[in-house]
Structure formats: structure tokens, C-alpha cells
């Protein structure tokens, strides 16, 4: 009897295989995303990262975990949120892997699935930002910070007052948000884009994987 081999290579359960399909779709959208296959685990990305010292999973390990079929544990990590997208890893990767863009893809997946602690700072900052620019078409810095701190730590707003006042006195703080003229047209565009965002091919990558045992796993008789 040949040993039983999973139908989908390296995948343990349904949840993980869904995450994998989602991840592979996101990576396929990145120009040059397919280079993720060429990772040699050299660790140049980790070494180049200015904030890797505070990460729980190193950038190199992210690709290793993806290969091992443990995407869920990446989504729970602090790493994807610490990345400030300075692109140092992307520039230095000898295999040309778009590490920063892959981290963006993971951020989007984690946000969609809600896999982060409650009142998580970056999630709230991004949400507030998106809310404001959907509304006005332009960003509004004071509004962004007020929304952000109201939802995370309202008391901190007071400690920011001296800096805000200083900036205001120098004329660097806009009191009112500036809006674009074609707000209505912008929301029509956004409504259509929302629909476009949802059009996703149905698990294209898993279908391409051949069914049956992995070649070479069974000793030829």
C-alpha cells in the first residue's frame, strides 16, 4: 500500500487551504510576485529591515511559514503591522522578491479576516484614513489624528495639544478639511471600484495543482 498523501500539497486543513488560495491570488496581482518561489532563505530581508528587532516573526520566516502551510500564524503576527514600507528588503533581495508588497497583501488579508487584537492601532489608523478620504477625496491630518486617538486612547489627545498648538502657530495645521470639487463623481467611482474589488477568480491556483500523490513520494516498484 502506498502511503496516503494529501490531495493538496503541503496543506493541512480547509481553513489553511482557503488562506493559501487567497494569498496566492494576492501575490499573483503583484508585478513580479511570482518570484516568491525563488526565496533561498538567505535572510537579507531581515538584515536590511530597520524595525526587524521589534518583530516576532522575521521577514525571512514569513516566506518559510507560507511554504510550511502556516499562513494563519503569519496573520496573527505583529510583523506585518510593524513594517513601515521603506522597501529596503525589496531592493536588496537577491531573488527579486517583492517582500514589502507581500506584507501589504498579508495586511489586507488580516484586516479582511479580523485577525488582530481589538483596538489595534494600525487598523484603526487605516480605517480612519480611508473614512476621511472617501468623504473628502483628500486627507485631513488633524481629523485623522483626532479620529484615531478617540478610538484608541482619547487621553493622549491632551498630550498632543502643545505640538498641535505649535504647528498651528506656524501655520502648518489646517483647521478645516479641504475637499475636492467632484465629490459626487468620486463616490460613484468608489462604488464601482468596490464592486470591482469583489471580483476574484475562484481559487485559480489550487485548480492548477495536479491531483494525486506528489511525484517522487512513492518509490517506483
Amino acid at each position: 500500500m502506498p502511503p496516503k498523501v494529501s490531495q493538496e500539497w503541503g496543506i493541512k486543513n480547509k481553513k489553511e487551504s482557503d488562506l493559501r488560495a487567497d494569498f496566492l491570488y494576492q501575490v499573483a496581482n503583484i508585478p513580479g510576485g511570482e518570484k516568491i518561489k525563488k526565496c533561498i532563505q538567505c535572510g537579507t530581508c531581515t538584515g536590511s529591515c530597520p524595525v526587524s528587532y521589534t518583530m516576532d516573526i522575521m521577514p525571512r520566516e514569513i516566506i518559510a511559514l507560507f511554504r510550511a502551510g502556516l499562513i494563519e500564524s503569519i496573520l496573527h503576527s505583529r510583523t506585518i503591522w510593524i513594517c513601515a514600507s521603506c522597501y529596503a528588503c525589496t531592493v536588496r533581495c537577491p531573488a527579486g522578491i517583492k517582500v514589502t508588497d507581500i506584507l501589504y497583501a498579508l495586511k489586507r488579508m488580516a484586516m479582511e479576516k479580523g485577525l488582530f487584537p481589538k483596538r489595534f492601532p494600525i487598523f484603526i489608523l487605516s480605517k480612519s484614513f480611508v473614512y476621511l478620504i472617501n468623504l473628502f477625496g483628500r486627507s485631513y491630518e488633524p481629523g485623522l489624528l483626532i479620529l484615531y486617538y478617540l478610538r484608541t486612547n482619547p487621553l493622549k489627545l491632551f498630550s498632543l495639544m502643545p505640538l498641535a498648538f505649535k504647528l498651528f502657530r506656524k501655520g502648518r495645521l489646517a483647521l478645516l478639511p479641504k475637499s475636492i470639487k467632484k465629490r459626487k463623481e468620486l463616490s460613484a467611482i468608489l462604488a464601482e471600484a468596490e464592486v470591482m474589488e469583489m471580483i476574484v477568480p475562484e481559487r485559480p491556483y489550487l485548480q492548477a495543482i495536479p491531483k494525486g500523490p506528489v511525484p517522487g513520494f512513492i518509490r517506483p516498484s
Partner: protein, 289 residues
């Protein structure tokens, strides 16, 4: 060739000085900047981490508007510059995303045909106008001024369109030609933390401390930068850094256009020096006219 000016949101508020000085420099070098009519936010790094297609639609709207004017976009903000270039790249290489974006833009009668080039003012000044032309127009000299040239991340990375991603020298050459001395500054493209200053301040404060420490230890008189977020992080948080790390930083951080405008002969008011939180030292102000 017209240059279409895309200021971006932060140049309307916290980096007003960058906006004023960029306009002044281009006007005085005889180049017209036409502001893009009804531009919107580029989406920045934060929209990209929520929705991919919508964030591309946001920045592509600007590109589509600019395409009608048949020119190149000049985007001073590093983040806008990267995002607009990234949008161009994504739409060029991924026809499904391009179709999705154009389908959305059609709601307002717009389409984007990938014909707009996105440039940074530094790129335009050095490569289109030329360092020699700028140096010949200089009214003041920067002799004796020691500058730490801080490029930040997103102007040279990920593509390195007009300069090396590891060791850019465009700004160094520009200010050397104007008489300044560039100090040894190996962290010129190291990350300042960006929005981490709001979300994980303890991480960002350390990154900024490293940059300031390097500049001060190499005897720089000021830092010169190209990015609105780097400027505010490095300048406005010096007090906090001093408190946290028991340091004593008080070094001015200028936009490169501010210093350039002042060298080309504008008044301190026109260079918007009054908007800097750290007072501008006499060494810069006293440049011979």
C-alpha cells in the same frame, strides 16, 4: 512639455513650506508648474493595506486627469511619488487590474492609458534643468554650511528611478555645486518610521534618534530632506526624543527646496523659514547675497 504639479495632501497643511518653496524655485527658474485641477489624495500607504483595487483607483484618477493635459506629473511628496509610480507599474503589468480600474473611472468619464510619467522635483531640477544652470543662477553661497542629506525611503525605493536606491547622490551634487559641504551620512536612506510615529511611537522614536544622532555626530549644521513625513518626524519630535533618550538635539530640518530657494535669492519669508519649528541658524541666514 508641461509639468503638472501634484502637491498632495500634506503639502496643503503640515508641509506648507515645501509647497511654497517648490513653487518659488520653479517659477524663478522659468518653469511653469500647472496645478492639477481637482486632484485627490493618492491613497498613501494606508489605503493599500486595506483595499488593493480601490487604492489603485484613487491614484489612477489623478493620472487620468493629468493624461488629458499631456504632460509629466511633478510630485514633491515621496509617498505620492512612490504610489503614483507604483500605480503605473501595477496597471502596466496587470491587465485585469487595469480593466477593473478603468471600469471604475469610466463612471466619471475618465480612462487611463498609461501615458503619464511621474517625476520628483529633485529629478526635474537636476536632470532636466541641470546643476550648472542652477548654480549659475545662485545669488547666495552656501560655503561653510555642513549639510546631512537625508533622502528618506520612498523617493529612491523600490524602483530607484533617477538615483541609486542604496546610495543616492543627486542632492549631494546639487548642494555641493552651490558651495555646501556634505557630511558623512550613511543613514541617508534609512527609514524614519513614517506613520509608526502615531501607531508604535517607541519604535519610530528610536529610528529618528539614530538618524539625528548620526547627523549631529558628523557635525552637520542642518538636515535637508525631500519628504514631508520625514521632515515632521525628525523636527517636531526632537523634544520627545531628547526626553526619552537623554539627548540634546536641536538641529533644523529643512526641505531641500527651502534651502535651494534661499540660495537662489528669495527672502527668508518666501522660503517659509518661519514655519520651521527649530529656528534657522545664522549660518544659513547669513549666506552672502
Amino acid at each position: 512639455m508641461t509639468y503638472i504639479y501634484y502637491p498632495g495632501c500634506s503639502l496643503e497643511s503640515s508641509a506648507k513650506a515645501y509647497d511654497l518653496s517648490t513653487r518659488w524655485v520653479f517659477e524663478n527658474l522659468g518653469i511653469t508648474l500647472t496645478e492639477l485641477e481637482d486632484w485627490n489624495c493618492c491613497g498613501a500607504t494606508m489605503y493599500m493595506s486595506i483595499k488593493e483595487t480601490i487604492s489603485l483607483v484613487f491614484s489612477a484618477r489623478n493620472l487620468a486627469l493629468a493624461e488629458r493635459l499631456n504632460g509629466e506629473i511633478v510630485a514633491p511628496c515621496s509617498s505620492c511619488y512612490t504610489i503614483l509610480n507604483k500605480t503605473n507599474k501595477y496597471l502596466k503589468e496587470n491587465f485585469i487590474l487595469r480593466a477593473k480600474v478603468n471600469q471604475s473611472l469610466r463612471r466619471d468619464g475618465l480612462t487611463y492609458h498609461l501615458q503619464v510619467k511621474v517625476r520628483h522635483p529633485l529629478d526635474v531640477l537636476v536632470n532636466d534643468i541641470g546643476i550648472d544652470t542652477i548654480a549659475s543662477r545662485a545669488k547666495r553661497s552656501l560655503t561653510g554650511l555642513k549639510i546631512a542629506q537625508y533622502y528618506g525611503c520612498q523617493i529612491v525605493r523600490p524602483e530607484g528611478i533617477f538615483d541609486d536606491p542604496e546610495n543616492p547622490t543627486t542632492m549631494d551634487e546639487l548642494f555641493r555645486a552651490l558651495g555646501a559641504t556634505n557630511v558623512y551620512f550613511p543613514v541617508k536612506v534609512r527609514c524614519c518610521g513614517g506613520m509608526l510615529m502615531t501607531t508604535f511611537p517607541e519604535v519610530a522614536l528610536k529610528l529618528n534618534k539614530d538618524i539625528l544622532e548620526c547627523a549631529v555626530a558628523n557635525n552637520a549644521d542642518c538636515l535637508v530632506t525631500t519628504c514631508p513625513l520625514c521632515q515632521i518626524n525628525l523636527e517636531a519630535y526632537q523634544k520627545k526624543i531628547n526626553k526619552k533618550f537623554k539627548t540634546n538635539f536641536k538641529i533644523p530640518v529643512l526641505f531641500f527646496t527651502q534651502l535651494l530657494a534661499y540660495t537662489l535669492g528669495c527672502s527668508p519669508k518666501e522660503a517659509a523659514f518661519d514655519q520651521n519649528l527649530v529656528p534657522i541658524p545664522e549660518k544659513i541666514l547669513g549666506g552672502s547675497l
